[in-house]
């Protein structure tokens, strides 16, 4: 099956998922991102790489943080950025997703940054662009349903490499609501591709997808066992708004059993780093003492996120 995010020469034309992406492409994005971190420290925080290009932030699902970081990244590359918050209710009124896309194509878009509540929505757009002969327009997945959040996964890899250097000697734990998390899926795909020898997930059974082991992870339900001797702790947001039915009895019980406290973190390696994609629910999945503690690298993640998104956009525009 043709991988829709690569062209015939194996070059990245869209960024839809990290799953199945070759290791050298992942590493190249991280390498390209490195010098971009310095741009932020300059007096003039701009590069001309995307000058004259129009980047449409097409957000079908509310998000402030991701949209803002994409906007900053595009602007630092000198692109024109247009933000569209297409509420799902307006599409319910008649205009289909592809109608919206066609209209924006007619406005000479060069790149779409897409956030959608349904898994696979960016694929539909990428396939539509292919079918209509517009493969010169690039799609960046900014989060689709539970499926993928590739730029988040990449910025997490950037952060890990920054603090830990070598992926092949690490033990990494992903903690929390894996079932509903596109971030977790992208992280797991990237970690396994980059050669991390042990990726663990820690969660109650209700928050793990069926056959999660097939993704190449070790499953733990007990925080104390799962955190033992890990180098990296990747916390997930407990997505209350996605909760349906009887997945958890209460956030209090969740915090008691799976919340990351200094006492539980003490079981990890002393120099372990703690990451979180944000926004954090303090007192639900993470204790403030950990979130603000010396092991946390949550704010550097945000900074690196801009550089990584600049790298992705410039790479796609050059492809």
């Amino acid at each position: 099956m043709l991988n829709p995010q690569l062209n015939k020469n194996g070059e990245l034309i869209h960024l839809l998922t990290l799953e199945g992406l070759p290791k050298d492409i992942l590493l190249r994005i991280l390498d390209i991102a490195a010098p971009f971190t310095e741009v932020a420290e300059r007096e003039v925080k701009k590069l001309p790489l995307l000058r004259g290009k129009s980047v449409f932030n097409l957000f079908f699902e509310n998000s402030t943080r991701t949209r803002t970081t994409f906007e900053i990244a595009a602007k630092r590359l000198s692109a024109d950025v247009i933000n569209l918050n297409v509420s799902t209710s307006s599409t319910a009124k008649g205009e289909t997703l592809l109608d919206t896309v066609d209209n924006l194509v007619a406005m000479q878009a060069d790149m779409f940054v897409v956030r959608h509540a349904s898994s696979g929505a960016p694929y539909l757009i990428a396939q539509h662009l292919r079918n209509t002969g517009r493969e010169d327009i690039h799609v960046v997945n900014a989060g689709d349903g539970r499926h993928a959040h590739p730029t988040q996964g990449l910025l997490d890899m950037y952060t890990i490499r920054h603090f830990k250097k070598d992926f092949t000697k690490l033990r990494v734990a992903v903690v929390g609501d894996v079932l509903h998390s596109r971030v977790a899926r992208s992280e797991i795909a990237a970690l396994t591709t980059l050669g991390v020898p042990e990726v663990r997930v820690i969660a109650p059974k209700t928050l793990l997808p069926t056959d999660v082991e097939r993704m190449g992870v070790r499953v733990f339900h007990d925080m104390r066992e799962g955190l033992r001797d890990v180098d990296v702790v990747m916390m997930l947001r407990l997505q209350n708004e996605r909760m349906q039915g009887a997945l958890l009895p209460s956030s209090q019980e969740y915090f008691k059993v799976w919340g990351l406290t200094p006492e539980k973190l003490a079981l990890a390696k002393p120099d372990a780093i703690v990451m979180h994609p944000g926004p954090m629910n303090r007192g639900v999945e993470i204790d403030s003492a950990v979130a603000d503690g010396s092991n946390a690298v949550i704010l550097p993640q945000v900074t690196f996120g801009i550089a990584v998104r600049m790298a992705v956009m410039s790479m796609l525009a050059g492809a």
Partner: protein, 425 residues
């Protein structure tokens, strides 16, 4: 009108006939097989050399979308599709708008269908008013109006007491009840709950959605004595429950949708919405079990589960895309492909789409080609392969996961009551 179908290979599963035999038709009946009857002068002779002559196909589930969903398909468009698929009798589920729960509606549908002079339409009436699962319908009246069975399409009966009483009431008259085994709570998803759904971030529907519903339906069938038919089986575990129920003597039949014989969840690929169907495509192991179960006869029949959907509804992210696949024109090719791959005699393959399906529907007029039978005939070329494409599909719905795939079997002539209603090349 006298018609002579000459030089064909007659395959009539009901009579276990697979032989070179001519068919002679006078008006709407088959008057002779083999030898030309005395005084018979054909008005038209169809040369069926190299072709198979079989009973017109009987499809256990085809949504014709009337009344209520004419933007998706009309009786006219779907009847043309049925003819092109060699299907001359079909059952349509009650999930129209309004629901088929009133005798007047059923009569109107049968009348409209009759006037088109194509496939014979056998409505499945709603088991409960509005398919809401609260109040049982006027089954006796609905049968008079033309219903052959009662069901809930893909809607559940939440209240077990209502389901039990509906089955008791149907059993009073010996009416058939057709149920989709789908627990409504566990079915709140859009793909088989397994590795593929986990990877793609699709909400999984576990196999237990089927087995739990089956336990409930089989238990009630046992106590009420109703003639139960299970529609669209999707899993190996579900099939095993049916097999065991039958082994202990329960009178239960079941069918499978043709696409479930050939596809599994891996085929969803990169979120292809054409693979969004109900029940979901399950694992490869489930698919193998269904294929073998149908070959062994544990599954009685295969149907198209024809569900035309318009393009706008399908061109949406996987979970939001309307579920279903168009199928009338693919039933014969998909059955032939399955039968060929399983190395079954053509007689057995065709039984699953003719005589076995007619038996489940409880109709004696269709699905066989004996002397005196209604002359519903399908003449097809079993050797030629044809690529499925949007342009060649007659159905208004172009939504099939088999687009671009070459499938065996090309229908050349479809006869309904002795009239040639379709001629293809």
């Amino acid at each position: 009108m006298k018609l002579h179908i000459a030089n064909g290979r007659l395959v009539d599963p009901a009579h276990k006939v697979d032989a070179q035999r001519d068919v002679f038709i006078e008006d709407d009946k088959i008057v002779a097989l083999g030898q030309t009857p005395a005084g018979f002068t054909a008005d038209r002779t169809i040369d069926a050399a190299g072709l198979v002559v079989c009973p017109g196909l009987v499809d256990l589930s085809a949504r014709l979308r009337e009344p209520g969903f004419e933007y998706r398909a009309t009786l006219e468009s779907e009847m043309q599709a049925a003819m092109a698929g060699g299907i001359t009798s079909l059952a349509c589920p009650p999930d129209t708008d309004p629901v088929l729960d009133e005798p007047g509606l059923v009569e109107m549908l049968c009348y409209r269908a009759r006037n088109l002079n194509c496939a014979h339409v056998y409505p499945v009436g709603a088991l409960t008013f509005g398919l809401k699962g609260e109040r049982i319908t006027e089954m006796a009246e609905l049968v008079e109006a033309g219903c052959v069975a009662f069901g809930q399409a893909n809607e559940a009966v939440l209240n077990t007491q209502v389901l039990m009483r509906a089955m008791q009431y149907a059993a009073t008259f010996g009416f058939r009840v057709w149920m989709q085994p789908m627990d409504p709570y566990l079915s709140r998803g859009n793909a088989h709950d397994g590795e593929v759904a986990a990877r793609l971030g699709l909400t999984g529907i576990p196999v237990e959605a089927e087995t739990i519903a089956l336990h409930r339906q089989l238990t009630l069938a046992r106590s009420t004595g109703v003639k139960l038919h299970i529609t669209r089986l999707s899993s190996a575990a579900g099939l095993e429950l049916i097999r065991r129920a039958r082994a202990e003597g329960l009178d239960v039949t079941c069918d499978v949708a043709a696409h479930h014989l050939h596809l599994c969840d891996v085929d969803i690929g990169f979120f292809n919405p054409l693979h969004h169907v109900v029940p979901p495509l399950r694992s490869q192991r489930d698919r193998e079990a269904l294929r073998e179960g149908l070959a062994r006869g544990d599954i009685d029949a295969v149907c198209s589960d024809h569900t035309p959907v318009d393009d706008d509804e399908k061109q949406a992210p996987f979970a939001e895309a309307a579920a279903g696949a168009t199928g009338l024109e693919l039933l014969l090719p998909l059955a032939l492909k399955w039968g060929g791959e399983m190395k079954l005699p053509l007689l057995d393959t065709l039984a699953r789409v003719t005589s076995d399906a007619a038996r489940i529907m409880g109709i004696t007029k269709a699905g066989h080609l004996g002397v005196g039978a209604r002359a519903d005939v399908c003449v097809f070329d079993p050797e030629t392969y044809r690529r499925v494409s949007r342009d060649t599909l007659k159905s208004q719905g172009k939504n099939t996961p088999f687009l671009g795939i070459e499938l065996p079997g090309v229908v050349r002539h479809t006869l309904v009551e002795g009239r040639v209603m379709y001629e293809g090349r």
